[in-house]
């Protein structure tokens, strides 16, 4: 059963890695920010699965903190993007 949880956690980590593509490509800061938020949600699920897989219940507290605090970055993002961040061109940085 633990292997099953670990495999599921691995699947979610691969999801995060797939989402990194959006972070690298952009093009808008908002796209990247939403990707980071998605990672936060996926990270909560991954940590919960790891807590089961490793039989270490206190890892759930780390998941709790991610669920609670990820919104802080978005608030800061909104506060700082009352002016526009420059978009970067496609395909230039890969």
């Amino acid at each position: 059963m633990n292997n099953f949880f670990l495999a599921m956690a691995l699947f979610l980590v691969l999801n995060i890695l797939a989402g990194l593509w959006r972070v690298l490509k952009g093009p808008n800061p908002a796209d990247r920010m939403v990707a980071a938020q998605l990672f936060g949600t996926t990270g909560v699920a991954t940590l919960l699965l790891l807590a089961q897989a490793l039989e270490s219940p206190f890892i759930r507290n780390a998941a709790l903190l991610f669920a609670l605090l990820t919104v802080m970055t978005v608030l800061a993002f909104i506060r700082n993007t009352s002016y526009r961040l420059p978009e970067d061109e496609h395909n230039e940085n890969l």
Partner: protein, 306 residues
């Protein structure tokens, strides 16, 4: 399966950090750094260190993102394309050091337990139930004391740069936005509750002063972010007292222990003392971090439009 998971986490950590260095745009680097914190937290759980995973989660999600976003907001010029110049002079010592460290792994015995056994044997003397809290606040209390001093010095450094003696004076009110003021009602009570919960947990499980303090600091930063004036209403004297309370409680402990013994930082009613110091340290960590985030120089609200 374990090995595959660890390998993927390890490789993605290395890959993401490489992209952070190479990213030609600040914002991308920030988002990658946030992702890096998440992956790091996963790595710490795999290394069976829930304490560090919780601390990483709190700092990475709660404070690092806000600090970096504000820094970006204060910078006006876009980053020029980073040129990665690998200097041979540096490469060779770095590779040598990395080789030495990798080599040293061969010398760790298979059944090495670290200092865990020693700590567990001495644990009953502290009347605490959790070895890491015992190490941080009792066995290595001196280190923790000085770390609180480092935080205090960092706040003083901000004051020096800002050329003021009033940390509150450096605080600018954040623009009030509807989302912020709505979400603060929802999340602030939860943050205070969970900060207190982590602090309470520290006596017998992963958690403790630092993790609780960071969550409380996030609550304070959130209060400020939502444009709420309450942080600024706290009297300046209280602000100063709370900033110093962690360092001060260790100082009082060290001083008072000299009355009945020759050694610093020993205490008879251990658990009461330790919990007292831990609670004071939490408040002081929270307020120091709030001061550092809010008092950071180069915050430049005038440059922004609406």
């Amino acid at each position: 399966m374990d090995l595959v998971f660890d390998l993927i986490i390890g490789l993605s950590l290395a890959g993401v950090s490489w992209r952070i260095v190479r990213a030609r745009e600040h914002f991308q680097a920030i988002v990658l750094f946030i992702t890096f914190g998440l992956l790091l937290s996963l790595a710490w759980t795999r290394l069976k260190s829930p304490d560090i995973a919780i601390a990483e989660a709190a700092v990475g999600a709660g404070l690092a993102g806000v600090l970096l976003m504000d820094t970006l907001g204060a910078l006006s010029s876009p980053r020029e394309r980073a040129k990665v110049v690998i200097s041979l002079k540096l490469l060779i010592p770095c590779l040598f050091l990395a080789g030495l460290m990798a080599y040293s792994i061969l010398y760790i015995p298979e059944d090495f337990q670290g200092l865990g056994i020693v700590v567990r044997e001495a644990l009953p003397q502290t009347h605490l139930e959790y070895p890491i809290t015992a190490v941080l606040l009792d066995f290595r209390g001196y280190d923790t004391w000085l770390e609180l001093g480092v935080l205090l010095v960092a706040v003083l450094g901000v004051l020096c740069i800002r050329r003021t003696d009033n940390i509150k004076g450096t605080m600018l009110p954040a623009p009030a936005e509807p989302v912020g003021s709505w979400i603060v009602k929802l999340l602030l009570p939860l943050m205070v509750l969970i900060g207190g919960y982590l602090l309470w947990l520290g006596a017998f499980a992963p958690g403790g002063a630092f993790q609780g303090g960071v969550v409380l600091a996030s609550a304070g930063v959130m209060l400020w972010q939502s444009g709420h004036p309450s942080l600024g209403l706290m009297p300046r004297l209280w602000w100063k007292i709370l900033l110093c309370s962690g360092f001060l409680s260790f100082l009082i402990l060290a001083f008072s222990s000299l009355f009945y013994t020759d050694q610093l930082l020993t205490h008879p009613a251990t658990k009461t003392w330790i919990l007292g110091v831990e609670y004071a340290a939490t408040l002081s960590i929270a307020l120091c971090l709030i001061s550092l985030v809010l008092g950071s120089p180069a915050r430049n609200h005038e440059n922004k439009g609406v």
